[in-house]
């Protein structure tokens, strides 16, 4: 029996990329303990519930950005899609539409943007940085005109079910938001590790020419990654609308960068081809713990920004230094140009 246990441990340790994930898990635990010591209220059950619920949206956008990073690309439109999703759904509900119809319409709009991202990058061969910078602006524009350049009215009593489903309700003692993030993480992790599409996503990020010559449909793989990213951003936008009970045009500001941070801290490489989605869970958790803990510690904004900035820069530096080898420097530049 104990031999079996060792076998499992050994198999886990052999997973490529597990090293960084284990390291940041330790980092997460340390951070958690430190913040708790600074302000014991941090450990309260009330805060734990809130904290998990605050981590959930970061995990969701992290999943999307991770998929895209693994293909060797980047998605800068994530935050704007969150805003677009929040505004489209809230505008419809504030005008009396059935919440679930609004959800459906919103999902369709966001997926259309994801499709555009995928095709611009893989078919039109635009550099991902430029392509998603463009769709980012377009999505933010759509968020603004959705309700004629105002924030929306309240989405109304009829939307209470919607608000509970996405944010305020609890199931088996945990907030629904947490369940949503967990279930979607399980699904997308499964797809990434156990299906052909997932394998192709890693291959395209590892060596797109080799993948192409092996008969992998590069356009399909790239577009799938962007569709995933658009979908999870859409869900986060719906969560935002549920949280506020209205749509704000500013929703999701800068989220694409948080998504990159969560992914990179968790071990997803910006050079493509490697990283574990489990790492993104840890990365998102670290991000959430930082935001929450720094507030409890009473840190002024400047310190908070510096701390977060340093952690992100160090993670990316480690990523590039550790992973860089011959040829990967070329790849790295390809994200930007």
């Amino acid at each position: 029996m104990s031999r079996d246990k060792f076998g499992l441990v050994r198999r886990v340790l052999a997973i490529r990329g597990i090293g960084q994930v284990l390291t940041v898990t330790v980092g997460l635990i340390v951070l958690y303990v430190v913040f708790g010591i600074m302000n014991p209220v941090f450990f309260s059950s009330r805060n734990i519930a809130n904290l998990l619920r605050q981590i959930a949206p970061i995990l969701l956008i992290g999943i999307g950005q991770s998929y895209v990073l693994i293909t060797g690309n980047i998605d800068l439109s994530i935050g704007s899609v969150v805003g677009m999703s929040c505004m489209i759904s809230a505008t419809m509900m504030a005008k009396g539409a059935n919440p679930w119809v609004a959800v459906l319409v919103t999902i369709i709009c966001c997926l259309a943007l994801g499709l555009a991202n995928g095709l611009l990058v893989s078919f039109a061969k635009l550099p991902p940085f430029i392509a998603t910078l463009g769709t980012m602006t377009i999505a933010r524009g759509i968020a603004q005109i959705a309700n004629n350049n105002y924030n929306t009215d309240s989405i109304g009593e009829a939307a209470q079910g919607f608000r509970d489903f996405f944010y305020y309700g609890k199931t088996f003692g945990l907030y629904n938001t947490i369940w949503i993030a967990l279930v979607l993480w399980l699904i997308f992790n499964f797809i990434l590790t156990r299906t052909r599409s997932g394998r192709h996503i890693y291959a395209v990020g590892s060596n797109v020419e080799a993948a192409r010559l092996s008969g992998v449909n590069v356009i399909s793989a790239t577009t799938k990654a962007y569709l995933v990213s658009a979908f999870v951003s859409c869900v986060v936008g719906l969560i935002t609308a549920a949280t506020s009970g209205m749509g704000t045009m500013d929703a999701g500001n800068s989220y694409e960068l948080y998504a990159v941070a969560a992914s990179v801290i968790g071990g997803i490489s910006t050079l493509g081809g490697q990283g574990l989605l489990f790492g993104t869970v840890i990365g998102a958790s670290i991000w959430g713990v930082l935001q929450n803990g720094l507030q409890f510690a009473g840190a002024p904004v400047a310190i908070r920004n510096i701390v977060i900035g340093i952690i992100v820069v160090v993670s990316v530096l480690l990523d590039v230094i550790v992973r860089s080898g011959k040829g990967s420097r070329k790849k790295h530049i390809s994200i930007v140009a």
Partner: protein, 505 residues
């Protein structure tokens, strides 16, 4: 279904790229269970022919028969693969983050329903690998394997795709002798299974151990096909290079003077190994060899672009310490690089700015302000001295013809009174008239007592212009010839003198 023993028959293949006829009425045949060597110089058309067979390029005209079936219309990589053609490139194409099994099954993953069946794939990969006596665990991440092992994985992958026609491009260049023997065993096994193998290589000494027949190409034409045993090595080399040299190259006879440039025991990585040579006043030293022999790498190491491990450089008898191109330029040593658009010019800047760029120290005053008059004179002198054809010096460098662009690259150095000028493939992609002007320029320089180094892959050119020729192969200097003793055959002999890893004949 024909009764022909040939599994591949290509006839009258023509392929033209803009400006050059890469394949001119070429034929090629391959039998089942045969290893066919495909030989020829760089640029002979071997790669192009094989790319057409494997579907990467489409032919302009000619017919292809695979297993007796005529291929009407164009092939593509997938189609070719389905027909059993597999090509193992010299530049390996593996996803370094994935495992061996994952790479082998990339694009044709084994699934259990909709899910990947990694166990099945690992099993099958293990089978293929052991049937070829390759000792690699299928779960190994490819990026951690040595290049030689990666090559074997590529071969295993090709077999799993049921390849019956295997094209191997320089398969032994990265292998040790033990690994080469393993590879040859593998190839013999494949022969027994009925595969036909096209073996492209410059390592002529190795052919005897594995090759059955030989097809030789030259300048895009099919020259001859014969069983390997029916030809001597000299005959093979002769066929590879035996062109009639019709062009006359301008050559001036200048008195040889003192030693002005010496390179001693230069080592810089795998492609520059213990390189030593001298250049004397009044001579052009040509450096010949095949692609990948290390000639460009040598010039880059001398110029300070790539770091060197050891070696000394002397100019006019005095040692110079070169760590960066700036050091080289200050010492009077300049390089006209192989890729002029990428390394020689700033294509978005004007001709004037390009010529002025490395000469700013001459043009600017002490505070760093550019003296417009000095700049204008310098640029005008360079333009007229080299007869660069342009409307005004303000045009973008990219708008000039290849020949004129090359003159700009050269021109920017000539203002500096250099002692040594190295030219790396200076006439590649240039029209005939401009080529002649470059040859004249090199002659001018040598008459002025400047050491001229001339790297080129075109044998007629090197033999026509140089006073002395040094030949490199696989990072080492394998031979030296005086102009009057040089023949194409001798140069090719030296150029293919790879270290025989399999022991002497």
């Amino acid at each position: 279904m024909s009764n022909s023993p040939y599994i591949v028959e290509m006839n009258h293949i023509i392929k033209t790229f803009p400006g050059v006829r890469a394949l001119d009425d070429v034929s090629f045949r391959l039998k089942s269970g045969e290893v066919m060597a495909l030989l020829g110089e760089n640029g002979a058309g071997k790669s192009t022919l094989m790319k057409i067979l494997s579907g990467v390029y489409t032919r302009d005209s000619g017919d292809i028969q695979i297993f007796g079936n005529s291929q009407i219309g164009d092939l593509n990589p997938r189609k070719a693969q389905d027909l059993g053609v597999s090509i193992i490139h010299q530049e390996l194409n593996m996803c370094s983050h994935l495992t061996v099994a994952q790479n082998i099954f990339l694009g044709r993953e084994v699934c259990n329903g909709n899910l990947l069946d990694d166990n099945a794939m690992n099993e099958q990969a293990k089978e293929v690998l052991s049937s070829l006596h390759i000792d690699i665990a299928p779960q190994t991440v490819v990026g951690t394997l040595a290049v030689s092992k990666q090559q074997m994985v590529e071969i295993a992958k090709a077999l799993l795709c049921d390849a019956k026609i295997l094209i191997m491009d320089e398969p032994t260049s990265a292998l040790t002798s033990v690994e080469i023997n393993q590879l040859f065993e593998l190839i013999r096994e494949l022969k027994r299974k009925g595969c036909g193998i096209v073996y492209i290589s410059h390592r002529l000494e190795e052919l005897q151990y594995i090759v059955d027949s030989v097809t030789i190409m030259r300048d895009g034409k099919f020259i001859i096909e014969k069983p390997f045993n029916a030809l001597t090595m000299n005959q093979i080399i002769s066929y590879m290079v035996g062109r009639e040299i019709k062009e006359k190259f301008p050559h001036t006879l200048t008195k040889k003077g003192n030693k002005i440039f010496a390179v001693k025991h230069l080592n810089a990585g795998k492609l520059v190994r213990d390189v030593s040579f001298d250049v004397f006043e009044g001579e052009i030293l040509g450096i010949a060899g095949l692609m990948g022999a290390g000639r460009t790498e040598t010039t880059r190491a001398i110029f300070g672009i790539d770091p060197k491990e050891s070696g000394e450089i002397e100019i006019n008898g005095r040692g110079v310490n070169i760590k960066h191109p700036e050091d080289a330029i200050k010492a009077g040593l300049v390089l006209v690089p192989e890729d002029r658009k990428r390394d020689g010019l700033c294509v978005k800047l004007s001709v004037r700015e390009n010529i002025a760029l490395p000469n700013l120290d001459i043009i600017c005053n002490k505070v760093g302000v550019i003296n417009r008059k000095t700049e204008r004179n310098l640029v005008k002198k360079a333009i007229s001295g080299l007869r660069i054809k342009l409307t005004t010096e303000e045009v973008n460098a990219s708008s000039l013809s290849g020949g004129n662009q090359q003159k700009v690259v050269v021109g920017k150095w000539l203002a500096r009174n250099s002692s040594v000028v190295m030219f790396d493939e200076p006439t590649r992609g240039i029209d005939v008239a401009s080529k002649v002007e470059i040859y004249h320029l090199m002659n001018q320089l040598k008459e002025q007592g400047i050491a001229v180094l001339f790297v080129s892959s075109e044998m007629p050119e090197i033999m026509g212009v140089s006073d002395r020729i040094v030949v490199m192969c696989d990072g080492k200097i394998t031979g030296e010839l005086l102009r009057q003793d040089a023949t194409q055959e001798k140069i090719m002999e030296y150029a293919t003198q790879f270290e025989n890893k399999l022991g002497s004949r």
